[in-house]
């Protein structure tokens, strides 16, 4: 069950900040602990930047969800960019095509309770993460 949902566009660097701030305010509202808040905001920042840089922009949905007994925050990032040809490799730390540190995908997976990624060459990428309470 989705208790609250905020949809955001990611088309400029400032939008990454908006994603972080929205994630923070909904994480607080969902009752996540400070450490869980910090983890999901950090993951959101990495994935929003990926959407902007690798996906050429896209959308983020931030949701407070209850899937009893789990309750927390779920984030969905979608772009219609070039897609990721080699997902396995993209998940590895240190692998980067954007000139970054290559920690974005692997790092966000470690910071999340749940992590799903779908990507099709030429069609885009969709990443869903969740951080549950407790």
């Amino acid at each position: 069950m989705v208790l609250k949902r905020v949809d955001l566009q990611i088309t400029a660097p400032e939008d990454v900040v908006v994603v972080r701030q929205t994630t923070r305010s909904l994480a607080v509202e969902a009752g996540l602990s400070l450490i869980d808040q910090t983890k999901i905001i950090t993951a959101a920042s990495e994935l929003a930047r990926n959407t902007l840089i690798h996906g050429g922009g896209g959308t983020a949905a931030v949701e407070i969800v209850r899937e009893s007994p789990k309750e927390g925050l779920r984030l969905t990032f979608e772009d219609k960019g070039p897609g990721i040809p080699d997902l396995e490799r993209a998940m590895q730390d240190g692998y980067s095509t954007g000139g970054g540190l290559g920690l974005g995908l692997g790092g966000s997976k470690r910071l999340s309770s749940e992590f799903r990624i779908q990507s099709k060459a030429g069609l885009g990428t969709r990443v869903v993460i969740a951080r549950w309470k407790g």
Binding site: V16, V17, R24, S45
Partner: protein
């Protein structure tokens, strides 16, 4: 400072000079270009002000992601080449835990719990150079 979509958009992070040290307190949620601008500005100021130390206070940051982490590392590396020490102070415990889990251990970055301890570190590093032969073990 202008307001865009409810976000404070600063063009620059202010850099203060205290003796031979530069002091930066990051108090806004920086977008990537702002972080890059800070890196450039600090590089320029280290040379222009002949700074021997840089103190970066991140106590107001509630996250440090890989981009900010990389910027802090870059500043420390550039400063070292320009003969200045960098100390990052005030990292929140939840930020430290998250950084390590993210996979970023900030190698080469000196840290201190607060500004006082950070200043002590910089002064100690500074007096070591003044008293010695200019070479320093790191």
């Amino acid at each position: 400072m202008t307001i865009e979509k409810g976000v404070e958009v600063m063009d620059r992070i202010p850099i203060l000079k205290m003796g031979s040290f530069l002091l930066v307190t990051i108090q806004v949620d920086m977008h990537d270009q702002l972080a890059l601008a800070l890196q450039d500005d600090l590089t320029e100021r280290i040379v222009r002000d002949r700074a021997t130390g840089v103190l970066i206070d991140i106590s107001a940051l509630d996250i440090v992601d890989s981009f900010i982490g990389r910027m802090l590392g870059n500043i420390a590396s550039i400063a070292r080449i320009l003969d200045a020490e960098t100390v990052v102070v005030g990292m929140q415990p939840s930020v430290a835990i998250t950084l390590v889990e993210l996979g970023l251990s900030l190698p080469g970055i000196r840290t201190a719990l607060n500004i006082d301890r950070g200043m002590e570190l910089l002064r100690a590093a500074n007096s070591g150079v003044a008293a010695g032969d200019g070479f320093e073990e790191s």
